[in-house]
Amino acid sequence: MSINGKAYIVGAYEHPTRKADDKSVAQLHAEVAFGALQDAGLSKDDIDGYFCTGAAPGLGPLNMADYLGLTKLRHLDSTDVGGSSYVLHVGHAAEAIALGLCDVALVTLAGRPRAEAMATGTAPRTWGANVPDDPFEMVYGRTVANVYAMCAMRHMHEFGTTSEQLAWIKVAASHHAQWNEHAMLRKVVTVEDVVNSPMVSDPLHRLDCCVISDGGGALIITRPEIAKSLKRPLVKVKGHGEATKNQNAGYTDVTFSGARWSGPRAFEEAGVTPQDIQYASIYDSFTITVLMQLEDLGFCEKGQGGKFVSDGNLISGVGKLPFNTDGGGLCNNHPANRGGMTKVIEAVRQLRGEAHPKVQVPGCTLALAHGTGGLLGTRHGSATVILERE
């Protein structure tokens, strides 16, 4: 079964806050859900499918359905693959809709790591108890930053990628963020600014890392008949792919990501190629994340990512592949340490023609959103969606 054309994204909302001192996580979920419903022109009781992750309080759908007053639910999905979850949820929602399991799906994400002063990338952290790999990794001070840094170090070793090339990714994001009034970092930076920022974990500098922000976002996905009855531009789900990559029983290769598998699945279902994509939301927890995913999605040859991102090639209006025109996680927002939601939201804005005029891709009809969740160099989820303006 293909989901191509079976579902549409009709609501998309990004919470404007970046620091939520005065709001609970559950309340942030409520606010993004309400925002997405308003955007779609639907109401709470239209929702009969609900999607969230372990980032939602309690037993996800149970506590959230209670708080949000969702009484009509007949389909639930709390698949948690870290920050890539919300890209994956778009695919799962389209599948559920295609099977008739629900008519209107709500996906929410919210969190407040910044208000809680969480050292997201630099303090060792794990997810839950009885994790079988923890006894073999946590004692070594495994952090988000150092696991991604090891990927960058090996990529540089094998392919000659440089810090200056990685820096271009941040530079491009900052060019976009200057136009986003909600972005955390609106200052345009240079390659020199990035490579001269303090080293966090060799070879990643502070400006190679995404922001830590509070807030969240929500999406409403529905079937074609309902989408066409609403007033919003039609954004069709055209293809979806998901994968997980890990240490491969000890024979790990940290120079590629699960995008190598999820990407082709999405392209095949959509019936398009990387060359057809006019705008790409690429997961940007770190600059190296972007570079590896661009290669693995087929936007350039493996190992040529450094050359591809150089000289502003990711800047809207300048380069060949405009990416993360909201400023991305690198400059705008990485709510709850999970960037997949905002990746989908900015792709929807682009397809609707509602991105900031300074970064809007003219006549944008085909976009991709891709997420990497978990840890690039150990085990991660990978999800790709391809969306089309109808």
Binding site: T122, V139, M153, V200
Partner: protein, 132 residues
Amino acid sequence: MATPASNRTLPAIQVDPTNKPYFDAAREGRLLIGLCKDTNKHFWYPRGCSPFTLSNNVELVQAKGTGTIYTYTVMRTKEPYCVAYVELDEGVRVFTNIVDCDLDSLKIGQKVKVVFKPTQGDSPPATMFTPA
């Protein structure tokens, strides 16, 4: 400029009934790795099933304790430390720390050998590596 590896305090390791034999050997200064007896292939990290066949026809076998740095990074915290994947001579790549060295002198491909470092309380030692 040299950055000596810090002697940071290592947290306790959560030993469970399945991985206990690995950590018992570590207490004796021996490095063990997984062997799938269905396929005769080594695997990492140690576990009670074969990641190749899913059967429990597995055992822990002694590794030489030498290898090379596959990739690494130096975490530039107050107490800098090196996180690495070391490729053992047996072929598996092990998540670890490189210790007792100048962290600024490390290179991918460099030869290393195993050392065991004490952790907190009664917890078993951590399996680490140092330049050979």
